[in-house]
């Protein structure tokens, strides 16, 4: 009995498990940062779609139409790579001399000095930006629709009392928009949370990758077989984690909806 407990304590606190536990932060950071960026891109996209100038309107419309249609896995692979190589191309055009280029044996980048090494923090940021871009396109549509749901008379009243266009936008229009946008945004948020399971595509050692590694049959030369295929147990832990996050998110969205809906949603709670 005591041996059992001792085994489990030492097994579950070994170095690889501690790294696994720590890797939950990548998922949480990617979700929060990606979510925040999605809202920012969504607000920007919706503002562009509402613009009086047709080129800006086009940009907003094209962004929300095209990016929504691209599979997120594909965009996840495409964007960080394209961004990395774009930066390398730009750096190369600034620093590479003919001698450096001649010295380079690999096909890319043009010279060694232009190589940009990406570690986990950089990939995490690129992953968050990818999430923000993809789901910002959905948020654009949600927010654009929500902006149109704000009663026009209240915007007119704000103008009639001398508010500037930006005061009307921020103090009345966007402030009231949230009530109509939140149900849609909560869907987008759930999709972002699901998409965080793709982080390992960007060489981030995330919770999914570690669950896979830790669950695989574990054989140590000194001990023999520690356990056979336990992956489903590790996946189960991830299920529970994602369900917990979902539950917390719903609670949070309920609270936010109540807060921003004060006076606008039905006044059952006074």
């Amino acid at each position: 009995m005591f041996d059992d407990i001792a085994f489990w304590v030492s097994y579950l606190t070994n170095g690889k498990h501690l790294t696994w536990y720590a890797s939950f932060q990548f998922t949480i950071i990617a979700a929060l940062l990606g979510g925040a960026l999605a809202v920012i891109f969504g607000l920007t996209g919706a503002t562009l779609k509402n613009s009086r100038f047709w080129p800006l309107r086009m940009i907003g419309t094209v962004y929300s139409a095209i990016v929504r249609g691209v599979p997120d896995v594909l965009f996840f692979l495409f964007f960080p790579l394209a961004f990395e190589q774009g930066v390398e191309w730009f750096v190369a055009s600034q620093v590479c001399t003919p001698e450096m280029i001649a010295a380079q044996s690999a096909p890319w980048p043009p010279c060694k000095e232009a190589n940009w090494f990406l570690g986990t923090p950089e990939y995490l940021i690129l992953a968050s930006v990818s999430l923000g871009l993809v789901y910002g396109a959905f948020a654009t549509n949600v927010i654009h629709g929500a902006m149109r749901s704000v009663p026009a008379g209240q915007l007119e009243a704000a103008r009639a009392y001398g508010m500037s266009e930006s005061q009307v936008l921020w103090r009345v229009h966007i402030r009231q928009m949230w009530v109509y946008a939140l149900p849609g945004l909560s869907n987008v948020w759930m999709l972002i949370i699901k998409a965080t399971s793709l982080l390992s595509l960007l060489q981030i050692a995330d919770i999914v990758l570690w669950a896979d590694r830790l669950g695989a049959p574990n054989f140590l030369p000194t001990v023999g077989l520690v356990h056979d295929d336990w992956r489903w147990r590790y996946y189960l832990v991830l299920f529970v984690f994602y369900i917990l996050v979902t539950w917390l998110s719903e609670r949070a969205f309920d609270a936010i909806t109540r807060r921003v809906g004060r006076g606008i949603l039905s006044e059952a709670h006074g």
Binding site: G153, Y161, I264
Partner: protein
């Protein structure tokens, strides 16, 4: 708030409209309208729906930009640029300053739903006029008491009846210390039993000597509250004068017809 001043033809013009034209697409709604509202005057705009009276009122604070003609507030012409259908506000700073002194009351109240009644009343004085918060709050509460909903200060508009909402909207207009109050059919969205509480407040303001221009369907009210009544027909002023002249000694056949219809409607 303000001393009652006798209405004399010599007092200052607060609002002056010069030859206003306004079209929506091919539909010409205003076909050249001029009038002057002087300090302390109460003017009612009457006419059948589609006569252009609401559009005319909305041209005063440029919620609608007239295609032709000028609007002067306290003798200052509102700057417009462009011609005809491309005409637009020419000086954002000027229009915001002028609007901050015109208290508009809408048919559908248009209170900001996410703010309490008190916040609604304090918003423009704080944000647009940038006045001191404590002073504004004291004045806002006084205005809410004046219109009889002081106890509703912390309620949201959706928790109020239509009549209470419209009185809150009147308090919002009063709290900016307006040069002129503009009422756009203030009781048309209200049940008949709620109309009276709003009309009483407007009457109170008229008796204080405030300058007011109101668009109304209510002929009895127009008669009792106005110094001058203007009858619009198809975008033109068909008849104007004191309530006694307009209602008692009607000259225009169209106005007679309109008044008959209004009485039997």
């Amino acid at each position: 708030m303000k001393e009652v001043e006798p209405v004399t033809s010599g007092s200052t013009p607060v609002v002056e409209l010069r030859n206003l034209h306004k079209s929506f697409g091919d539909l010409e709604v205003l076909k050249g309208i001029s009038f002057i509202a002087r300090e302390g005057e109460v003017i009612s705009l009457i006419g059948s729906s589609g006569s252009g009276k609401s559009t005319l009122l909305r041209c005063i604070n440029m919620l609608e930009v007239p295609n032709q003609g000028d609007v002067l507030i306290d003798g200052e012409a509102i700057v417009l640029k462009g011609d005809a259908h491309h005409r637009q506000i020419g000086d954002e700073g000027q229009i915001r300053r002028i609007r901050s002194e015109l208290g508009m009351v809408f048919q559908s109240f248009n209170l900001w739903a996410h703010m309490t009644v008190l916040e609604n009343v304090m918003e423009a004085p704080l944000i647009v006029q940038k006045r001191n918060r404590a002073e504004v709050e004291a004045e806002a509460r006084a205005m809410l008491d004046k219109v009889g909903i002081g106890s509703k200060a912390d309620a949201y508009p959706s928790q109020l009846s239509g009549g209470q909402q419209q009185r809150a909207a009147i308090a919002r207009a009063l709290c900016i210390n307006p040069r002129v109050m503009l009422f756009d059919e203030p009781t048309s969205a209200l049940d008949p039993e709620l109309e009276q509480e709003v009309l009483r407040v407007i009457k109170l303001l008229a008796d204080e000597g405030r300058t007011m221009i109101l668009v109304t369907h209510d002929m009895d009210f127009a008669r009792s509250v106005s110094d001058r009544v203007i009858f619009l027909h198809q975008g033109l002023i068909e008849e104007e004068g004191t309530p006694d002249e307009v209602f008692g000694a009607t000259r225009s056949g169209r106005l007679k017809q309109f008044l008959n219809a209004a009485n039997h409607g």
